[in-house]
């Protein structure tokens, strides 16, 4: 193993543990990544030294907590290259970020308007729109995909009309690893004055995100999928939209003045942050960003790319296997099926061999239906995974095949 990789791995306490008597091999990074000790410690240090509620207190701990919290906002802003801190809304996760837009943005629309999402979306970028469409009399249209798991841009162009008010699209598919051509989609959408929401849950830990370059209108992601804590998410939104949108949740923080005669709302970003935020988790997110930047997000991407190519080649060689998703220009999520072996059976046995991977529908049932399957096995890599782990995994997969033969 390369010394740099050893350095990275040594920061993750959980990677030393055994499960079922075997060394843990964690290939379920698409679901959630593991946390480096810096992130874990940032959170516990916060509780040991600084814990306090933010924004409203005059006392030392509150002031220091507020500074740290707002500095975290600044880190996120810089990390994704947003124009202003006002464009960074803290939520509890990608799902909430999308729900926020789905509820608040659609309140500006008229009955009969339509929203487009793609066939390959995670349920979190489908169901919020279904709920909003039902509530407001909007139509939900589906951008279709090709059999190799790419977005069908022609079909997309064909379903856009002058009642189309938003396009929601995953940056990277959590099943196929497809990297969608966001800039192209944004250009197409903007030429029709349609804003684009990008579900960045699967991209933020793997690609350099530059929202100014992507020019998307909204970008949603979760800290827990990028080495950060659970319970923290981000919604990036262009100020021009966020200014127009009504508040989502009501409560403390998001108001300017409250009275029973009429309440006025706070400025951005606070207008969308009701209630006590997850200060500790947000500070830990800025530590996760620091972790990624120390390695270099491009380096992470490069290593993952090597792992992915290696695994794809070896899996193909193995035979009797169906691979889903594109072969090139893809992310480090690999979905596959062993012929005649149920993913649940294989996953259960691989777990006994210490390998954590995901089996099932991956919260993407419409995509499963498209391929006519009930689920896949999925491995997904992060900065700390190694070729050696893939080799062990492949060996184990061979054993599983033998067991079921």
């Amino acid at each position: 193993m390369k010394p740099e990789l050893q350095d990275i791995r040594s920061q993750f306490p959980i990677l030393n543990r055994e499960v079922n008597g075997k060394k843990l091999i964690y290939f379920d990074n698409g679901a959630t990544t593991q946390k480096p000790i810096g992130v874990i410690d940032a959170e516990s240090q916060y509780y040991k030294e600084l814990n306090s509620n933010v924004h409203r207190g005059v006392h030392f701990l509150s002031t220091q907590s507020t500074i740290a919290f707002e500095n975290a906002r600044k880190s996120v802003q810089q990390f994704i290259n947003a124009r202003s801190e006002n464009e960074i809304i803290f939520t509890k996760g990608t799902t909430e970020s999308i729900n926020l837009v789905a509820q608040s943005f659609t309140s500006l629309l008229q009955k009969g308007d339509n929203i487009i999402v793609s066939r390959m979306e995670h349920h979190s970028n489908i169901v919020p729109w279904q709920l909003a469409c039902k509530g407001r009399g909007l139509e939900l249209r589906v951008a279709e995909i090709t059999s190799d798991g790419l977005l069908d841009l022609q079909q997309l162009a064909s379903i856009i009309d002058d009642r189309t008010k938003l396009i929601g699209i995953a940056h990277i598919s959590n099943v196929l690893g497809t990297i969608n051509p966001i800039k192209e989609i944004v250009a197409m959408a903007h030429s029709n004055n349609i804003p684009v929401l990008v579900d960045g849950a699967q991209s933020v830990a793997h690609l350099k995100i530059d929202v100014e370059d992507l020019d998307c209108d909204f970008f949603a992601f979760s800290a827990h999928k990028m080495y950060g804590s659970m319970g923290v998410g981000v919604l990036y939104g262009k100020e021009k939209w966020l200014e127009k949108m009504p508040p989502y949740q009501g409560g403390g923080e998001m108001i300017k003045n409250v009275s029973f005669d009429g309440t006025t709302f706070n400025e951005l970003p606070f207008k969308f942050e009701a209630g006590t935020p997850n200060v500790a988790g947000t500070i830990a997110l800025s530590e996760a960003i620091r972790f990624m930047q120390a390695i270099g997000i491009e380096n992470i991407g490069k290593c993952e790319h090597e792992l992915t190519n290696y695994a794809l080649a070896k899996l193909t060689d193995m035979g009797n296997i169906n691979l889903f998703g594109p072969i090139q220009n893809r992310s480090s999520v690999i979905s596959f099926l062993l012929q005649n072996i149920h993913p649940y059976d294989a996953g259960t046995l691989l777990d006994k061999m210490g390998i954590a991977l995901r089996t099932g529908t991956h919260c993407a049932e419409p995509l499963m239906k498209f391929f006519g399957i009930n689920g896949t096995m999925r491995i997904s890599f992060a900065a700390y995974n190694s070729i050696e782990e893939i080799d062990y995994f492949l060996e184990s997969l061979h054993k599983v095949k033998q067991i079921f033969e």
Binding site: Y344, G360, I403
Partner: protein, 144 residues
């Protein structure tokens, strides 16, 4: 005739000879193969246990105070587990099933399948089998 306790003790005893997880799972898969054929017609949505990753179907019949289960799954491990439950619970009375102690699952080392994870079907199967028992009890036994 044996009762639930005896049948589950017997299964637990069979499992106790394995100290290797692989042997245990091979045995589970074998047990699954012993299940009588389950016609495709019965693989209907109403017989499907919802929420698990594998598809598993369970049906039940009431005959003379006893319930007899049948089932199938598209995953072999799940099928094996279904088979174990069917072997243990089939032939018991509704009351026995409603009140039965499922701790043998722990003893045969399948506790992990009892987790509240919805991915696996064990909890769902047990719940469904007990629901059948409740339904049959209210249908037949209050009449008798």
């Amino acid at each position: 005739m044996t009762n639930i306790k005896e049948r589950s003790d017997e299964i637990a005893a069979n499992f106790s000879v394995f100290d290797d997880w692989l042997d245990k799972y091979n045995y589970i898969i074998e047990i699954g193969k012993s299940l009588p054929v389950f016609e495709d017609a019965k693989k209907s949505p109403s017989n499907l246990i919802s929420g698990c990753q594998s598809q598993v179907w369970i049906t039940a019949e009431y005959r003379d105070g006893q319930i007899f289960f049948a089932g199938d799954s598209d995953a072999l491990i799940t099928k094996g587990i279904a088979s174990i439950l069917i072997q243990v619970l089939s032939g018991a009375s509704p009351n026995e099933i409603i009140n039965c102690d499922m701790s043998f699952i722990d003893r045969i080392g399948l506790r992990e399948h009892l987790s509240p994870t919805r991915a696996n079907g064990l909890n769902g199967m047990i719940k469904q089998m007990k629901l059948y028992a409740i339904a049959f009890k209210s249908k037949h036994e209050t009449i008798i």
